[in-house]
């Protein structure tokens, strides 16, 4: 991979983000994440290590998924091998490994499905590309289902709407069921079940962190902006990715939410029991684990007696919240039905902006020329507001309200065609850094283009994973590590605060 030059204006030949590489078979076959240790596997109800009769267990699991998920069955039956998706995956564009073409990734599972669940595959396997489940096939699964960030870009271009994310989730679930889990995701899920967040940050530490933050903001602004934890009787429960409590630029976003709540005069709180918006149960395709994590939020809302649930900036968390929370942990008839359940912090902020309740001094962001990275799970797994496409418009509306210089990247790299950051879907781990760097290439090239054309200096995102991933890979492409910002960081920079304390109602939104 070439290192790109730092952005500078002028005319230069720039690489095309959509450029299709030559096929390089097997070049990524060695990319594998660390395996989950037995204790973490068992904590999630999976076998600690590869079970002896793994073949039969895997096939039985496949049969089970085939009965439980229509997507699994329809997608595996319906692919026409038209090739429309072949050049749509950022991991393929970044690596050239043909098994990173979405359809080829599906075929890793489809070949076994055909062998065991279709007539042709049983009798003429050679004709339809059916294969027995061997250790080599499992190795391929482990490599390439962990080279899919489940971003769903491919599905947008498929005539049947085949979503490779569903297949890689199923693949990971089958592997978990035979004792072949991934360390990163499974360890984290274990921590949430036990402590309540991905970091394993206990309540006491959380409270101390937020108290420090309160002081810091008071020092900076002279305004007592609060960061309440476990305040029973608050109206709003904020559920946010735990990265917001300690990582940059995430914290800057959290400060932004707090300032918005302050201006709205809202009584809000964070829960130390459900101190995590992320839900890695999604990544391993486990309905049960995803549900268990989601139920923590339900319990926190009931215990604290809140009326509303608002989610902070996190991509897959918003997918699980918007699309699945009602299914997994509903119904929420005990909450105020006048507001969306759950609501995104961007919806919340945008409503206030539209209602004229927030004032900005845009000049505070004048040193920034901004673009927006649509995070895949928000763009292709959720929505915002009342009109379709709100998930694209609302964050942009907030950015335009708080910053004077906004420029979108090339149209085929944003909105529903957005490229993943390269670190989504449970791949944000150092053991996959090579893959993460290569997978970021299309996005980095698109950023390079707006940097060149419009002098863009910063890119905003509403996803904790995107932010962490970009902080890491931006320097590899010649950008500043701090070129990635939170959307509510832009809000935080520019918002004009009234020096009123908590509880003084300036009007609810």
């Amino acid at each position: 991979m070439e290192q790109l030059e730092p952005p500078q204006t002028g005319t230069r030949e720039l690489a095309d983000p959509l450029e299709i590489p030559d096929l390089a078979p097997g070049c990524m076959s060695a990319s594998k994440p660390y395996a989950a240790a037995a204790e973490f596997q068992e904590a999630l109800g999976y076998p600690g290590e590869l079970v002896e009769n793994w073949h039969d267990v895997a096939i039985a699991k496949m049969g089970e998924l085939r009965g439980k998920y229509r997507s699994f069955r329809v997608f595996l039956d319906s692919c026409v091998k038209c090739g429309a998706c072949t050049d749509k995956c950022h991991y393929f564009l970044g690596t050239g490994d043909p098994k990173n073409m979405p359809v080829a990734r599906q075929d890793l599972l489809r070949q076994v499905y055909r062998r065991h669940f279709t007539l042709a595959g049983k009798f003429v396997p050679w004709l339809v590309g059916a294969k027995d489940l061997t250790t080599e096939v499992i190795d391929d699964w482990y490599s390439y289902f962990h080279q899919c960030s489940q971003c769903r870009r491919c599905s947008v271009f498929c005539p049947i709407g085949i979503d490779t994310a569903e297949i890689s989730m199923a693949g990971r679930e089958i592997m978990d069921s035979i004792g072949k889990g991934q360390k990163y995701s499974n360890e984290i899920i274990g921590k949430v079940h036990k402590i309540g967040n991905n970091l394993g940050l206990p309540a006491k530490a959380l409270k101390a962190t937020l108290a420090d933050l309160e002081e810091e903001v008071l020092e900076d602004t002279g305004v007592p902006v609060r960061f309440p934890v476990d305040e029973a009787g608050a109206d709003i429960l904020l559920v946010t990715p735990s990265a917001d409590f300690f990582a940059e630029p995430h914290i800057a976003g959290l400060i932004g939410y707090a300032k918005v709540f302050h201006q709205a005069g809202a009584r809000w709180t964070i829960s130390s029991y459900a101190s995590e918006a992320a839900n890695f149960g999604l990544f391993i395709g486990s309905y049960e684990n995803m549900r268990e994590i989601a139920l923590r939020i339900r319990k926190a809302a009931i215990d604290l007696g809140v009326k509303r649930i608002v989610f902070g900036e996190c991509g897959h968390a918003w997918r699980v919240a918007y699309s699945f929370l009602n299914t997994l942990a509903g119904s929420f008839d005990f909450l105020d039905q006048n507001y969306p359940i759950p609501q995104h912090i961007c919806e919340y902020t945008n409503d206030l902006i539209e209602g004229g309740k927030l004032k900005f001094d845009k000049a505070k962001n004048d040193h920034i020329r901004l673009t927006f990275h649509d995070s895949c799970n928000v763009a292709r797994g959720s929505s915002m507001g009342k009109t379709p496409g709100g998930q694209f418009e609302i964050p942009r509306a907030i950015l335009r309200a708080s910053c004077s210089h906004f420029y979108d990247m090339a149209p085929d790299t944003i909105r529903e065609s957005t490229f993943c950051c390269g670190g989504g879907g449970g791949l944000l781990t150092d053991d996959l850094i090579e893959l993460r760097k290569k997978g970021a290439q299309p996005r980095m090239r698109a950023l390079q283009q707006v940097a060149e054309d419009h002098g863009v200096t910063h890119m905003a995102a509403i996803c904790a994973i995107c932010k962490a991933q970009f902080s890491k890979v931006l320097p590899m492409y010649g950008f500043d590590m701090e070129a990635i910002v939170s959307v509510h960081q832009m809000v935080s920079n520019a918002i004009i605060l009234d020096p009123i304390g908590d509880g003084a109602q300036t009007g609810e939104n």
Binding site: L23, K68, P98, G129, F157, C158, Y287
Partner: protein, 243 residues
């Protein structure tokens, strides 16, 4: 004898096509989609979903966005196939419906367009490395089968015409269970044999993409998860004893 073979062949093929497809559709319909997974642009109403599926069905909108060549060849092939099928209705209806008569003259062009589209798709499958990589022998064979069907049909139209009147009475005879002799032209027999083969493999092959389009949860779900709780039966069972 020959008539008997072809008559039985078509009864079997029809039974397998209808039964097999019906069984698949029943399977798809009864398998739950436990989570809301529509892909954008996701409609928020039932009506929107119907329009979306129509758009995909008629215009191949997603493929258009993806790749203009695949779209061109794929769309031309499918549209031509439709016209050709409609044109063939005249062999199964007496009197021939008025609108089928109207379609007749287009049918011939459609025959050529179909072959052109199929050759285009096959050329891509052979020449574009990415698509060659994802193709199994059956993917090539399916195209060969369709090309052979279309070519043998065109051959009868232009080179070796068959006795259409006799052919029609053969098919009407099949429908009325009053068998009439089938014309003994080799090209016709090949054409019909291949068509029967296609009907038979339909429910067991990737041709299932036809019903699949309607059952694909990413396309057929309404995007309203916050407004209405969506719950599969097996997921409901998990809720027993929950707060």
């Amino acid at each position: 004898m020959l008539t008997g073979v072809y008559a039985s062949l078509f009864y079997v093929a029809t039974a397998l096509l209808v039964g097999g497809l019906g069984f698949r559709i029943w399977e798809y319909a009864r398998t739950p989609a436990p989570l809301k997974i529509p892909i954008p642009p996701a409609p928020t109403t039932r009506r929107g979903v119907v329009l979306r599926i129509l758009r995909e069905l008629v215009l191949f909108a997603a493929v258009f966005k993806a790749n203009k060549w695949i779209w061109l060849f794929g769309w031309v092939f499918h549209a031509a196939l439709l016209v050709v099928l409609l044109r063939h209705l005249r062999y199964f209806t007496e009197p021939v419906w008025e609108w089928v008569v109207v379609v007749q003259p287009f049918g011939v062009y459609a025959g050529f367009a179909m072959v052109a589209g199929l050759l285009g798709l096959w050329a891509r499958r052979l020449l574009v490395a990415r698509i060659r990589y994802i193709s199994a022998p059956s993917d090539h064979l399916m195209l060969v089968l369709l090309i052979a069907i279309a070519a043998s049909g065109l051959l009868m139209k232009y080179v070796a015409p068959t006795d259409i009147v006799a052919l029609k009475s053969f098919f009407l005879g099949l429908i009325l269970f009053d068998w009439q002799p089938i014309p003994r032209d080799p090209v016709l027999l090949v054409h019909l044999g291949l068509v029967a083969a296609l009907m038979i493999v339909f429910p067991f092959s990737k041709l299932l993409h036809a019903p699949g389009l309607f059952f694909s949860p990413t396309l057929n779900q309404v995007d309203n998860p916050r407004e209405r709780r969506h719950l599969a039966n097996w997921a409901r069972e998990l809720e027993i004893g929950r707060n």
